[in-house]
């Protein structure tokens, strides 16, 4: 479904992403892991069409993503790391706006809003202003906004930062439901246990390059004998020096 082929992106002298390749399949969740500054967000930005790769390409269903108005962008939903919502507007007005960006209007928009809000459990708060929501509710609405146009691919950039265990668990259940519906999910996170629970495949990226791309059990085989956790595998691959 989603194919990232040898993409490269630099910012001045800094090589943010270099020759990165991986795929995300239908009905699967691929975890994209890496230390701070590894190039995860830049990679997601290139997939979402927010930044142009200098080399390589991003393909969705075999068609290249590129250009502001490329219809292929409709197949991609972005859930940014930040809470990309208008606090002063109601949940409904937020979703109405984001849906309209994908040409949704009238009954189609109402149906899409109801479906997305039902999935994240916020149907009863649709009229409330976002500023009255808890952090967890905002995270779930952030997810709903990315799902509104029913994309085939969902890009989730650290979607559980700062939420309580209940909301995090609710988001996990939402993502598992989306996998069952056949969505292809790319999930970046710093929480290893999240990747262990959700990911069908894990791509580890460091200093802009892919250093591992395998299933969880495959990655465990890379660790020293006896190391069972993904975190120990991650630290083996990326080292223990601080990345500030």
């Amino acid at each position: 479904m989603l194919e990232v082929r040898n993409v490269r992106k630099t910012f001045g002298p800094l090589v943010a992403v270099d020759d990165v390749s991986f795929t995300v399949e239908v009905g699967k969740l691929t975890g994209l892991l890496g230390p701070n500054g590894a190039g995860k967000t830049t990679t997601v930005s290139m997939i979402a069409g927010l930044a142009q790769p200098e080399r390589g390409s991003v393909l969705v269903g075999g068609r290249a993503v590129g250009g502001d108005t490329n219809p292929i962008k409709k197949k991609i939903g972005l859930v940014p790391q930040d809470l990309a919502l208008y606090d002063e507007l109601s949940a409904r007005d937020n979703l109405r706006f984001f849906g309209a960006l994908y040409d949704l209007s009238g009954a189609a928009l109402d149906t899409a809003m109801s479906s997305a809000l039902a999935l994240v459990g916020l149907a009863d708060r649709v009229r409330d202003k976002v500023k009255t929501f808890s952090g967890g509710m905002k995270r779930r609405l952030n997810l709903a906004a990315g799902l509104l146009h029913d994309p085939d691919i969902l890009l989730l950039d650290e979607p559980t930062v700062g939420v309580d265990p209940q909301s995090r668990n609710a988001i996990f259940e939402n993502l598992e439901e989306l996998k069952r519906r056949g969505k292809a999910l790319l999930y970046t996170t710093h929480y290893m246990e999240e990747a262990e629970r959700l990911a069908d495949r894990i791509v580890v990226i460091d200093r802009g390059r892919v250093i591992a791309n395998d299933t969880l059990s495959g990655l465990r085989g890379l660790a020293p004998a006896g190391a069972a956790s993904l975190e120990s595998v991650f630290l083996t691959l990326t080292g223990r020096s601080l990345r500030d």
């Binding site: 979402a48 972005l78 208008y86 109405r96 960006l101």
Partner: protein
């Protein structure tokens, strides 16, 4: 695809604006308050039959028949408000700014001035005049009036007919179509423009906030063109700016009887000015690094524009070179255009050049924004 997204962007910006109580007060209430105040102190509605009088102190140290006649003449003059006092108090009153000018008729002034005028002999007596240095314009007027009353008093004392002007003077305000002057028209034009610029500035800064919050990433990930995004912003900022101007003028028309001489011309200038403000807002979003730094710099830029554009003080009081320089300030054209289509009583033709120039400024600001905007997110 385009129209749905475009309308949604405009609707969203209007909802956000209306939900921000502070922004609404700044856009609508503050210009009305300040416009009312400035209008009231700069001439009001122009229908006040009582002419403003210059407040002066008169000290009669002579006490002669001539000096008493001068004092009587000054007291009866419709241009003056005379306080008869002693020299010490007169100086105090002028020094504290209570009165504008002090006039001292010294001892033997009546006799001395009479002799100097009628017999052309002896030293001329000295008439003392002191004034508040911030009110020099009124000094010349007072000197002229005192001279007139001295001459009349001396003539009366000599038994000759009181001299009078050998002509009648007919001074009348001149505006097109005899539209009565209304100072509120200029003050509301100035404040309306100032605060529509502030509204545009705030909306430009909101774009920087949107970027910080990741909303820009979500917007750019959707299949909408950057021209549509910019177009949506221009439309929403223009609508909000125009609303600011219309609410201000609506109030001025209702409360202070401000008249619009060319509705088409007024709307043309107002819309072009709002589009210029939208371009200004976009420029802030394109050139600003962060909301905090952009707010300080852009507020200063807006204030300089309104100051040099004649929104506070009419540009005719500026030095000549500055009047030429301010032609490069868009606010100057907006103020001139709104003045022309309100209190000057002119028609659509007077609005044409200001409108075209304001649209040119809008196009230049928007073009620079498009080029300088950081479109990539990473």
């Amino acid at each position: 695809m385009g129209l749905t997204a475009f309308l949604a962007m405009v609707r969203k910006d209007l909802l956000l604006f209306m939900s921000d109580r502070r922004a609404v007060i700044v856009a609508f209430a503050v210009p009305i308050f300040i416009g009312s105040f400035i209008g009231s102190i700069t001439g009001g509605m122009g229908n006040n039959s009582e002419r403003p009088r210059v407040k002066i102190a008169v000290v009669d140290e002579d006490g002669s028949a001539v000096s008493k006649s001068i004092v009587t003449g000054l007291q009866s003059d419709e241009n003056l408000n005379v306080t008869l006092t002693n020299a010490g108090d007169a100086k105090d009153l002028v020094q504290t700014g209570t009165l504008a000018v002090g006039v001292v008729l010294p001892k033997a002034f009546g006799e001395g001035s009479r002799r100097a005028l009628l017999q052309q002999s002896g030293p001329k007596p000295e008439l003392g005049v002191f004034y508040d240095p911030s009110r020099t314009i009124e000094v010349g007027m007072v000197q002229g009036l005192v001279t007139q009353h001295v001459m009349q008093a001396i003539a009366q004392s000599a038994g000759v007919p009181r001299p009078s002007l050998p002509f009648t003077l007919n001074a009348a305000p001149e505006t097109s179509n005899r539209v009565p002057y209304n100072a509120y028209a200029h003050s509301f034009a100035g404040m309306g423009i100032q605060f529509l610029l502030f509204s545009a500035l705030n909306l430009g800064i909101e774009m920087l906030v949107e970027r910080e919050k990741g909303l820009w990433a979500r917007l750019r990930s959707a299949p909408v063109s950057r021209f549509l995004i910019v177009g949506g912003k221009v439309a929403s900022i223009t609508i909000i700016s125009l609303m600011t101007l219309l609410v201000s003028f609506g109030f001025a028309m209702f409360m202070f009887k401000v008249r619009i001489s060319s509705v088409v011309g007024f709307f043309a200038v107002g819309t072009a000015c709002s589009m210029m403000a939208a371009g200004f807002g976009l420029l802030i979003a394109a050139l600003g690094n962060s909301p905090k730094t952009a707010r300080g710099v852009s507020t200063l830029a807006a204030l300089v524009m309104v100051m040099l554009g004649g929104a506070w003080v009419p540009t005719f009081v500026f030095p000549k070179w500055m009047q030429q320089v301010t032609l490069a300030i868009p606010v100057r054209w907006a103020v001139d255009g709104l003045d022309a289509t309100t209190w000057r009583g002119l028609g659509m033709s007077s609005a044409l050049i200001p409108t075209v120039i304001l649209l040119a400024f809008a196009a230049v600001f928007t073009a620079i924004s498009l080029v300088r905007f950081r479109w990539e997110e990473a």
